[in-house]
Symmetry: C2
Subunit: 462 residues, 2 copies
């Protein structure tokens, strides 16, 4: 679909080995982790230098070629599904950690650096990069920033946005834009860093990212509390928050999710529990011990049938690895997995868990629920088969109802999975017509030819 | 300057009592805390409802009237200096705290709420709003957000940006735009909240602001360490950071500032000290005590001549009140006070303190230095008289040199005072031509008639 002469120009920029038009490659880059129809791009390019990246962006713009940047493609809202015959820029040719500054506690990375690799590299120096999206083993920092990825530690540590001190990126013409700083404070110019975080590749293409690091917590303690009812577990979440305890993670799993995870990972989870909470506390030893005692007492008083404290790091890591496998475990059960991301103020978790139960009954669907209960971010997970048209219609209605419930509770459509293609049509429901207009104006001004990942965030006009 | 018929239209929106054209009022709103020439506006309006605010913005746009929004006017970069004959919207008619949600730890406020008033209101409920700009006793949340205000606690707690969960604001046409959420996580739509923080009234006008709150730290401990040389004090800052201790505040004052503050506030500061550090630790009692011991030991080993731990809250508060009075104290000494804001990665504090000393000598100027050393944010303070043209030329050269030194150390022009009028011409020096272009495009797209606080951040074209 892209003329050979144009492909040659891309090859001249990135090298012959880094521009691919084979059918297999095009297919590989046609989808991401969202339930969105695949779309075949026309060309994959893999720049290995900042300069080549900028030139590739410009060449796309000069030729009106739609351009989608892709890290690991783990995003769950269709943000990395390309346009038909468009260009995909793969960032895995730019995966250097350029600097880890221990004294000033920041890192400078290229966009293709894998999240877990960065986390391990800074941990080896006694530092901590807290954002830990479920896909961190393969996801990239560039993708995390483009999607404002969350994770298990949002409650205490925030999300990716809270750790991006600065970015440099190419605008659609290939000009290098810099924003933010290596300093903790920076009030110079517009906060373009803030605008770019979560912009899903629609406003520019990241070249470098400066990330804030913090000291590694001195102590950690993890525990698992088992409940005989969903209500008791979700009310315990609210009770812990109400006590002003701030765990590093506070995860909720219902029976459906527990079984799927246990069958998949054999980590020793209680298959018969109606629900469980996974809690990790970190910080100063005295604080951790006190908080752990308080959490344990709260769980007991709220009716936990058993509480198990991880004896050592190995046991702790095994349980967290199992939890992180939840998506993979659930995905094996049915052909289509819809992982929703509706989020409510955290005190409303019991109400939201109850609402999801009602919605599942209303539409006769299987909805497993797990997620980051401590920050109000649940993942109701609908297992279905998109080819079953009747059921799929009910799934779509259930999703609408889940969004309506979350918004009615003062929540949001998307806690951490972004807007992408999957949620763009719902955007006005949460915000306002003025928001869509304002956002569209920004998009048009920064990308007049509409080549930067078109259709994401702002729905394409019919 | 504004036709009577038009003033009547504003009065119809905000009420007769809330639109002022008296010379005294116009003069009162002609300046802010920056060393920038005053500019007389043509009209002050003071909306008392959200609806009136939106209509006033629209009326300005419909009539091509430049519009500057003003909270307390405490900003130090000229961001609230109006345009000749323009409109000033005073936000002190919209100063309600709309909600403090204890369970979900957020507050919703109108832009005119005074920072210290909000801080006290949430503290009364065991919660904490950390951003504490020096002017917090009078500054407003709207102004803090528009300027991305910092403060003494940036090192541990970040700045205003880190606490803004969501905003609603009027675009230039008076449409209401909403962004962000009451939830800890929100990845819905563009991060317009991020873009609006620090945008200095150039892209829209805030109607409501959602702020993140955190649990109030259980314990606090403050201490004062006195040094016989600037070098020893600044090297102690770097040593504390290198030990991965994260104080809530870590303030540096040189002898010049100490004397000015002590003369002004009689708080018992050591007038003969070459420099001093004010340190406050907060958190769990065990952590605070351990860190306090480590800080004390470090100060001693680095050569502190005396260390005094505040015996009680009264003593602690007295010292902090004195520190907060530094700007007022210094301002009394000479007709013109230039408070700079250059910021460096925190390990470079000793280099920056030394550089400021060299610059003061080079241009034969009095430069007092104090500031938030723990986050690299120093305030070199030049005492001068702008009417002395010869000296003022040297002051301008000194400022240029301070910026150059900060940038050479990987720092920034402005840690927390914003860009405004005072620094817009330096912006490209820190960023890039691409940054100016990108920023200008955003500004033009969101404000085609250029009525929203024109000339701030992006310098007016000659």
């Amino acid at each position: 679909m892209i003329a050979d002469s144009l492909v040659k120009k891309f090859k001249a920029i990135v090298g012959d080995d880094n521009a691919w038009t084979d059918a297999t490659d095009l297919h590989t880059y046609s989808y991401d982790a969202a339930v969105v129809d695949p779309v075949q791009p026309g060309l994959i390019v893999r720049p290995t230098t900042t300069e080549a990246l900028g030139r590739a962006v410009r060449l796309c713009n000069d030729n009106g070629l739609p351009l989608t940047v892709r890290g690991a493609g783990t995003n769950l809202s269709g943000g990395t599904v390309p346009l038909p015959g468009g260009v995909v820029i793969a960032t895995n040719g730019m995966k250097s950690i350029l600097e880890i500054n221990e004294a000033d506690m920041y890192a400078v990375v290229q966009p293709g650096v894998v999240t877990a690799k960065l986390a391990a590299a800074v941990e080896a120096r006694g530092l901590f990069y807290p954002p830990d999206p479920g896909s961190q083993a393969v996801s990239t920092i560039g993708g995390n920033v483009a999607e404002n990825a969350g994770g298990l530690r949002g409650l205490k540590y925030g999300v990716t946005r809270d750790y991006v001190m600065g970015v440099s990126f190419f605008d659609v013409d290939g000009n290098l834009v810099k924003s933010g700083s290596r300093t903790v404070k920076c009030a110079t110019g517009y906060n373009l860093t803030g605008l770019m975080v979560g912009s899903e590749g629609t406003l520019g293409v990241f070249a470098e990212i400066i990330l804030k690091l913090i000291p590694l917590p001195a102590h950690r303690k993890a525990m698992m509390a088992v409940f005989e009812s969903l209500e008791k577990a979700s009310e315990t979440v609210a009770a812990i928050i109400a006590e002003r305890i701030v765990p590093a993670t506070l995860e909720f799993l219902d029976n459906f999710t527990i079984r799927a995870v246990e069958d998949f990972s054999k980590a020793g989870l209680p298959r018969d529990a109606a629900a469980m909470l996974l809690v990790e506390l970190d910080g100063h030893a005295a604080q951790v011990e006190e908080d752990a005692d308080r959490v344990e007492a709260l769980c007991r008083s709220m009716g936990a049938t058993s509480i198990r404290v991880a004896r050592d790091a190995a046991e702790r890591d095994r349980v967290w690895a199992a939890r992180r496998a939840a998506l993979s475990a659930l995905a094996q059960l049915k052909p289509t997995l819809v992982l929703e991301d509706a989020t409510v103020p955290r005190s409303r978790i019991p109400d939201m868990v109850a609402a999801i139960g009602r919605i599942a009954k209303r539409y006769d669907l299987t909805i497993g629920t797990f997620g980051h209960a401590g920050d109000g971010n649940l993942h109701p997970t609908i297992l279905t088969d998109k080819r079953n048209h009747d059921e799929w219609e009910r799934v779509e209605k259930a999703i609408d109802d889940i969004f309506d419930e979350a918004l009615a509770m003062g929540g949001t459509l998307s806690g951490e999975h972004g807007t992408g293609l999957a949620k763009s049509r719902y955007l006005e429901k949460e915000t306002s017509a003025g928001t869509i207009l304002f956002s569209s104006r920004i998009k048009r001004a920064m990308d007049p030819n509409n080549i930067l990942n078109p259709g994401k965030i702002i729905a394409a006009k019919a």
